[in-house]
């Protein structure tokens, strides 16, 4: 059940009606828990068992950590959680990848390498990371272990963020569960405004750009250089609007219910350097990687060289988190190297780096950052290194020939996206927002819905980040 499908709208309306009719907070929590498992089971009911298992293990581990008398005992409990969560990830997501890469070694030893026929449970990367952060927070003493198993189950399974984030931490979410208030008109309005924004981003922007990007990435060698450039830019727009659209819808649905989610995107393509990009892109993941990977690795506390290594390693693993493929690892490694290089450059320039830059320098910084991000998206999107090199070859070494295709609808969307990013620069990073209390917002809403009805490419296009 994806947020932009008719069945989700039916599900959401029914859920809101039930929440409205429910008497008492316990009833509302029960409804939310059942609805969350129904939502998840809609994909494949068998996934629910894994979700339950992860939930109960970490619930027990957190209680164990709190009860442990010694640091060693706490560490042992923490290890149980890490082995459990990372073990599930390794088995479901990476096992075939590992086996395929170890195949030459197995062959030397005369062993047959099996290919496991496992289905990747949707959302596993998100809920395992969310669960790990909870256990580590309890281990660090930042959060008490939750006593109420039903509420903890709801924290892990809460449907708006279950499949593709944002990765919500226990310290952000669990305190809000103490008071699931009856539906409030104000929350429903604000949530609906956010949901409509996300819905438009997904079906008008992301899905339109996909119509252009997908065929070109499928056969990059067949297209002309300009078409390849435009398709890569279209993919950059697609993944941003797909993921930030999903996030807006998740934030909107949670808001309707009365739960606040953290911001996950802040116009990343206006970034002037790669460090700024990662402060604006998938913020809940980048902050998770910082707090639960980079800092435990030593962060910047163990000297310059080690800092650069930690940065690169964190991003490399962040790349692998996205999928079991070397192209994702390469994507992460490139970002890690760029972050390390940028940090080195800043440290080398010292105070000069903090001096305000002129418009030309700003533009060049922006262009360099944007082109770098585009190049990394080529590895992220391509099914293999061969396809990625073909695409990059077409982009940077145009040999002439190839199919010349400029998809008009995608160009309109890219123009609107450019305007939206430029608007955010002049308006403190804000996006244009609907305020349905104002009468003039309703015609705008009607126009947006009309555009969606008339121009959104139909078809159930799953969100890109569901596959991670």
């Amino acid at each position: 059940m994806i947020f932009s499908s008719a069945e989700f709208f039916a599900f959401l309306l029914l859920l809101l009606a039930l929440l409205k009719a429910a008497r008492g907070e316990n009833a509302r929590r029960n409804i939310l828990l059942v609805a969350s498992y129904f939502f998840y089971g809609w994909w494949d009911w068998r996934f629910c068992f894994l979700l339950l298992l992860c939930t109960f293990v970490d619930y027990g581990v957190a209680r164990g950590i709190e009860a442990a008398a010694t640091p060693r005992g706490k560490r042992a409990w923490l290890l149980v959680s890490l082995v459990s969560n990372l073990g599930w990830l390794a088995f479901f997501k990476y096992m075939n990848f590992f086996l395929a890469n170890l195949e030459p070694l197995f062959q030397v030893a005369g062993l047959h390498v099996p290919h496991l026929n496992v289905i990747l449970p949707v959302g596993i990367s998100f809920y395992t990371f969310q669960s790990i952060s909870y256990v580590i927070d309890v281990y660090r003493g930042a959060l008490p272990a939750h006593r109420n198993v039903r509420d903890y189950m709801l924290f892990v399974a809460f449907f708006p963020q279950l499949l593709a984030g944002p990765i919500v931490r226990g310290v952000e979410f669990l305190p809000q569960l103490k008071a699931i208030h009856p539906l409030r008109g104000e929350n429903v309005r604000l949530g609906a405004e956010r949901f409509v924004r996300g819905f438009a981003k997904k079906v008008l922007f992301a899905d339109t750009l996909a119509v252009f990007a997908d065929p070109v990435f499928a056969h990059p060698g067949a297209y002309a250089s300009l078409t390849c450039w435009l398709a890569v830019i279209a993919y950059a727009g697609q993944i941003y609007y797909d993921f930030s659209g999903y996030t807006d819808m998740a934030i909107g649905v949670a808001k309707m219910i009365g739960i606040e989610f953290p911001v996950n995107f802040r116009h990343p393509y206006r970034s002037l350097d790669i460090t700024e990009f990662w402060r604006r892109w998938h913020i809940s993941l980048s902050s998770w990687l910082r707090d639960y990977l980079y800092i435990p690795l030593g962060g910047n506390r163990r000297g310059r060289g080690r800092t650069y290594v930690n940065l690169a390693l964190t991003m490399l693993l962040g790349g692998l988190w996205h999928g079991a493929s070397w192209t994702f690892v390469a994507w992460g490694a490139m970002h890690g190297a760029a972050l390390a290089a940028h940090k080195w450059l800043l440290e080398r320039r010292g105070g000069a780096a903090r001096a305000p830059a002129g418009p030309v320098v700003k533009f060049l910084s922006w262009a360099l950052t944007f082109v770098f991000v585009l190049v990394t998206w080529v590895f992220f999107r391509s099914p293999s290194f061969g396809a990625a090199w073909t695409m990059l070859g077409r982009m940077f070494l145009p040999a002439g020939g190839g199919i010349e295709w400029v998809y008009v609808q995608a160009m309109v969307v890219l123009a609107l996206a450019t305007i939206a990013h430029a608007w955010s620069i002049r308006h403190d990073d804000r996006s244009p927002a609907l305020d349905l209390r104002r009468p003039e917002a309703w015609p705008v809403l009607a126009a947006v819905l009309l555009l969606i009805l008339l121009y959104a490419p139909f078809g159930t296009n799953p969100f890109i980040y569901f596959q991670f």
Binding site: A6, P215, I403, V406, P443, A446, L454, F458
Partner: protein, 338 residues
């Protein structure tokens, strides 16, 4: 104020859609043929390619019939490829072929969604008034399958009396009301088409969800190894009905090409074999446009299917495709009826 604003948005939407994007649903129901265009209506087409066209006095997307009889008259019967709403007026392959053959008039009676069965029934109604020297039957990958639906097979079993298409079936008040709204509002027409599409998508998605299948009923596997065994006999009987109206018949096949899989057959071999055998048996000509289209792609590197507002390499043929098909058709007409 909010309501007035919404009304203003809808009015502006109607104006923009009507002027630039989609005409109201002006087609009228016709028994057996489902629908046809009335004379002298303006049609804007923008879902694939772009054109603003006007039907002639016979409800066809063509010039008015010539006042003086041409040296050679050709009647083109076909589907949306022949109708050619995706390209501007004068760029359809019928126009290209007509320009290449001085003294020849090609009457383009192509209607989107029509199959050779529809052509035969239409001919039996109006064909005697046309008396062409050549009839061209254009078909593509999907529309021969349209003759195998239960409704089409019933039509085969009970052909119409000559000159009579019958009256369209009676409609309920609700359906008549809906048709009236669609006839008046371009926005309603476009919305209706989109809702139908959305409903089909949703049905397909739910079907996939619960049945683990959901392949489109219209999808024809490319290069299928076999065709339906009933097809040769059906085509044979249709040919008999069509060939009564002209001394020469040409079957024109416009295939989809796979531009990204070198080595694939250029057209559906089973389908073309059936039609080629029919032509050999009955003395008709067969033009498979795949070769000419593939040559054009090799020469220019640009697909002859697809447009700037659709996926390149898929869907209908573009202006280059119409040019190539038109030139090939002109050569075939000249050979068949010198």
């Amino acid at each position: 104020m909010a309501l007035a604003g919404i009304a203003a948005v809808l009015a502006a939407g109607e104006l923009v859609v009507r002027t630039f994007l989609e005409s109201p649903s002006v087609a009228v129901p016709v028994a057996r043929l489902e629908w046809a265009y009335p004379p002298h209506v303006r049609i804007v087409h923008s879902s694939e390619g772009y054109s603003v066209r006007r039907t002639n006095s016979q409800g066809m997307f063509d010039d008015e019939p010539r006042a003086t009889p041409p040296a050679r008259s050709v009647l083109l019967l076909g589907d949306s490829y022949a109708e050619a709403l995706q390209v501007p007026a004068g760029r359809a392959f019928a126009d290209v072929a007509e320009r290449a053959l001085p003294g020849t008039e090609i009457v383009n009676a192509g209607v989107s969604g029509h199959s050779p069965l529809d052509h035969a029934e239409w001919l039996e109604t109006v064909g005697d008034s046309l008396r062409p020297d050549v009839i061209v039957i254009e078909f593509s990958d999907a529309n021969l399958d349209l003759m195998l639906t239960p409704a089409a097979l019933r039509r085969f079993a009970s052909p119409p009396a000559p000159g009579v298409l019958g009256t369209p079936p009676a409609e309920s008040g609700l359906r008549r009301g809906l048709r009236e709204v669609l006839r008046r509002s371009a926005l309603a027409t476009l919305t209706w088409h989109r809702l139908k599409l959305l409903g089909a998508e949703q049905k397909s998605a739910l079907s996939r969800r619960f049945n683990a299948t959901g392949a489109s009923a219209h999808a024809r596997p490319q290069a299928a190894a076999v065709v339906d065994p009933r097809l040769p006999a059906l085509l044979d009987s249709l040919h008999t009905r069509i060939a009564r109206h002209a001394p020469h018949v040409i079957y024109l096949y416009i295939p989809h090409l796979d531009y990204f899989a070198p080595g694939q057959p250029e057209s559906d071999p089973a389908l073309t074999r059936v039609v080629a055998e029919l032509c050999a048996r009955r003395g008709a000509a067969f033009l498979d446009a795949a070769g000419a289209m593939r040559s054009e792609f090799r020469r220019t590197g640009q697909p002859v299917h697809g447009f700037a507002n659709s996926v390149v390499g898929s869907g209908h043929i573009n202006a280059a495709g119409h040019r190539v098909v038109g030139e090939a058709l002109a050569r075939t007409i000249a050979e068949v009826a010198p």
